[in-house]
């Protein structure tokens, strides 16, 4: 009843407002912009409709925004150390950044993709690739934390990654740079015919999401740029764009632009999977890191793996074909039906659309136009579904709205172009500010896009915001795509470089978001579950401090008996079991970051005291009304001093009654 009453009241309000102002009209120019403002306005306390996971590019991170508001909620550290969350600084997460090259504290994060079931977004994980030191990471969408990173061996410039198949059977990682396989000392100019490009299929365990390299396909030494999975009828296939089929090794801007057409490689991964499952492929020595973060021990482990299964294309006839595609294609995008594969030749005057059904027919009829390294090249006309003529300059990436329309970005002409699948006619074009790279429609890489908004990510902003010296912000722009014409709604700054993004309706994720970690489920090796169990233990020059934190004190908070030259471990457990009550801890002179510890969690940092004295530590997160009182002291004595180890709270033992 009350609801009805309220609705009636609301309707009355609206009609009164409308009628009271109706005669004046609204011819003012401001009317349009105010409607854009209303469309992106999310009132205080209200939630956004979509999550957008926007890659941080060379920041190595993944940022979480809300759409349509463009509000930033979290920057998830993935491939780069992050002082805010102690990622890569605390003892628990350091193993996450281990690689065959040692501890690598940075990477270039590029293409997030959300896990799928039956071709639709399921909101369990986001995968993202590290370009530089090839890695694939998995972010758990209950904790919004990076929980697994697997290094990709025999790869260099892990760019055509990390896209998932329809049921997240695989997350796929293709190399941009081809390299000698196996790696060896050889002249660079002997590249042609000798370098290889590895396409890596990483299986994802349906139960726990655990990643494992199933096989690596050793392709010819081209550059593999982007990739997307087939879906629907084309499920079981994966498509990779290539450039530098010239196999140039220098001045690629000229030498890799010689061929009129490069290829989109079509890979029947189901066929190769079957081959591998029947014992096919060759086990080859390798050395790559597999890093896993355990939510119960709150600790990551790094394991070096020593073997990888290699498959050469010639071993599996009929599994790999090349579709000629004009001029160094970048985007390689599959429409929701799985029938169309859109190739965006960076230098091409048109967009090329291949047809999956025509491709299958061409294969059956053996409509080949030669071969490359034993891989059949299909006749261009035989797979061609159509082309979008004169669409713009510098096409990069296409996504789909699920209503029969496609949206392609054009870097050089700085625009998003809407066109129709099947008729290939351009319907609308809107400028971006400026030089757009990728774009994203929530679910745009799935059978079921949520075609309400498109988010365009720009490489250059120049005068669009308040200037901040030579380095200015990068940006994303949100367009409403519910009408025939696109409407620019919002222009917001993002952490750089916003390379690519994945979006999903908020309702698919937010109910699963974890609030706290259960203290009773904490299996950390150095957990302290009550104040009475807090202690300080010396073992040679190593000192382990088992410390607790609760509003608004540490236990213990006075520690004596530490000596210069000790290696001091602070193992700190947050005893809170209340949502959004983290505590932090920082120690003067510690060569790490602070720790930010969630309720029920344990984290560890190391401190090497170098100077005699009494040194403070304190809570870094404004936890409570008495946050500023949350502090303690450590007494550091000279090496060899006879000051005994003691630890107290309020002048008494921590377990004093």
């Amino acid at each position: 009843m009350k609801t009805i009453f309220k609705s009636l009241l609301a309707i009355t309000v609206v009609s009164l407002v409308l009628s009271s102002c109706g005669n004046e009209g609204s011819s003012k120019k401001g009317a349009l912009s105010s409607s854009a403002a209303e469309k992106v306005y999310v009132a205080p306390g209200e939630h956004d409709e979509f999550y957008a996971f926007v890659s941080g590019g060379f920041s190595g991170q993944l940022a979480v925004y809300g759409l349509p508001s463009g509000r930033l909620f979290k920057v998830i550290p993935v491939f780069s150390v992050d002082a805010e969350k102690a990622y890569g600084f605390n003892e628990e997460t350091k193993p996450m950044l281990n690689t065959s090259h040692g501890f690598i504290p940075w990477d270039d994060s590029h293409h997030p993709d959300i896990s799928q079931t039956n071709g639709e977004l399921d909101g369990r994980y986001v995968f993202i690739n590290g370009n530089n030191t090839p890695r694939i990471a998995k972010i758990d969408l209950t904790t919004f934390e990076t929980t697994e990173i697997i290094e990709v061996p025999n790869s260099a410039g892990n760019h055509s990654s990390s896209f998932v198949t329809e049921n997240t059977e695989y997350v796929v990682a293709g190399t941009r740079f081809s390299i000698p396989y196996p790696q060896k000392d050889m002249p660079i100019n002997e590249y042609k015919g000798n370098f290889k490009g590895a396409l890596t299929f990483i299986s994802v365990n349906p139960e726990d999401g655990r990643m494992d390299i199933k096989f690596q396909l050793m392709m010819p030494g081209f550059n593999y740029d982007l990739s997307h999975p087939g879906r629907g009828d084309s499920h079981g296939w994966f498509f990779f764009s290539t450039y530098n089929t010239e196999e140039a090794n220098s001045l690629l801007e000229v030498n890799a632009s010689q061929n009129d057409k490069d290829f989109i490689a079509a890979i029947n991964w189901k066929k190769i999977e079957e081959y591998v499952n029947n014992g096919g492929g060759t086990k080859a020595p390798a050395n790559y890191a597999h890093n896993v973060y355990d939510e119960h021990t709150h600790t990551a482990t790094s394991t070096m793996k020593k073997e990888v299964l290699i498959v050469n294309p010639s071993e599996v006839p009929g599994a790999i074909y090349f579709m000629p595609t004009p001029k160094s294609p970048h985007g390689c995008d599959v429409d929701p039906s799985g029938e169309y594969i859109v190739g965006s030749g960076k230098l091409a005057a048109e967009l090329t659309i291949h047809s999956f059904s025509k491709m299958i027919k061409a294969i059956e009829e053996e409509k080949f136009d030669g071969e490359a390294y034993g891989i059949p090249i299909l006749q261009y006309e035989a797979t061609l579904a159509g082309a979008v003529k004169q669409p713009g300059l510098g096409p990069l990436h296409t996504e789909f709205d699920g209503q029969g329309n496609a949206y392609t970005t054009f870097f050089i002409s700085s625009e998003v172009v809407k066109w129709k699948l099947g008729t290939w006619e351009v319907i609308d074009r809107k400028p971006t500010y400026y030089s757009v790279g990728h774009l994203m429609i929530p679910g745009g890489n799935s059978r079921k896009p949520f075609g309400k908004y498109v988010l365009a990510m720009n490489k250059i902003t120049k005068d669009r915001y308040l200037p901040t010296g030579p380095e200015v912000t990068q940006s994303a722009q949100l367009y409403d795509i519910t009408g025939e014409k696109m409407e620019l709604l919002l222009d917001f700054p993002v952490i750089g470089e916003p390379h690519y993004a994945a979006g999903i309706p908020a309702d698919l994720i937010k109910v699963n978001s974890k609030k706290i970690f259960r203290l009773e489920e904490n299996k950390h090796e150095y957990v302290t579950k009550t104040e009475a169990e807090a202690k300080v233990v010396r073992n040679g020059n190593q000192v382990h401090i088992y410390m607790t934190m609760i509003r608004s004190h540490f236990a213990p908070d006075n520690i004596e008996g530490i000596q210069v030259g000790d290696e001091v471990f602070f193992h700190v457990t947050n005893l809170e079991q209340d949502y959004d009550v983290p505590h932090g801890i920082a120690m003067i002179g510690a060569q790490t970051s602070e720790l930010l510890i969630m309720p029920g969690q344990t984290e560890t940092f190391k401190w090497f005291p170098k100077q005699v004295g009494v040194w403070p530590f304190y809570c870094t997160d404004f936890c409570s009304a008495l946050h500023q009182e949350m502090q303690g002291y450590v007494r550091v004595s000279p090496k060899g001093s006879n000051v005994p180890i003691t630890f107290t709270l309020d002048g008494d033992a921590v377990d004093a009654e």
């Binding site: 009355t12 009271s20 306390g45 509003r551 209340d578």
Partner: protein, 192 residues
């Protein structure tokens, strides 16, 4: 109460819109109305959370012993403070404690015009601090008084049969997510 507020605001909006369109000079009022509608929101006590341990208000509401106390908390409008991150130590009088007050006191305190006085009395039951029994014993031993949210100090004593605050015995203690509830059988009326 909140529903009435909402209706009132909406009516205000209507009224202002009507007047605003009758002439160009009422612009300021439109802005004012807009702000009022937007800032309308529920406090922290409205946060839905079935995962965290229960906070002081949730625990009080769940127990029949605190029916009167909860009515008083709501009348005084201090719900949000009791769910705050704190830390808080609440000396919570049971229903019978209120019965001990002079006749008519509770009814008077629950009148809208007594809101400030009621809030003052309630804040005299809350220490912005983390005082488990163990710590209260220490406070008694070390002769430290408890500073209450009312600005007053309470004396804590460690007697043979238990801990006393302001001469009232602590009957029971409940750990809550944002501190502690110590159950007492007297209302701690602040002395001027």
């Amino acid at each position: 109460m909140k529903k009435n507020n909402l209706i009132f605001s909406l009516l205000t909006v209507v009224a202002i819109f009507i007047t605003s369109c009758s002439g160009g000079e009422k612009k300021q009022e439109v802005t004012g109305a807009h702000t009022e509608v937007v800032s309308e929101g529920l406090g922290q006590s409205a946060v839905e959370d079935n995962v965290s341990a229960a906070n002081a208000l949730q625990v009080a509401k769940s127990l029949d012993d605190f029916k009167t106390l909860v009515v008083a908390i709501e009348a005084a409008g201090v719900e949000d403070a009791l769910v705050n991150v704190g830390p808080l130590t609440v000396f919570a009088p049971v229903n019978s404690a209120f019965d001990k007050l002079p006749e008519g006191t509770v009814a008077t305190l629950l009148l809208p015009e007594s809101k400030a006085q009621l809030a003052f009395i309630l804040t005299n039951h809350v220490a912005p601090a983390n005082y488990p029994i163990k710590q209260l014993k220490k406070e008694a031993k070390k002769g430290r008084k408890l500073y209450m949210a009312s600005g007053k100090y309470l004396v804590v004593e460690n007697k043979e049969d238990g801990i006393y605050v302001d001469g009232t015995k602590i009957l029971k203690t409940v750990k809550v997510s944002n501190g502690w509830i110590h159950v007492i059988d007297n209302v701690l009326v602040p002395v001027e």
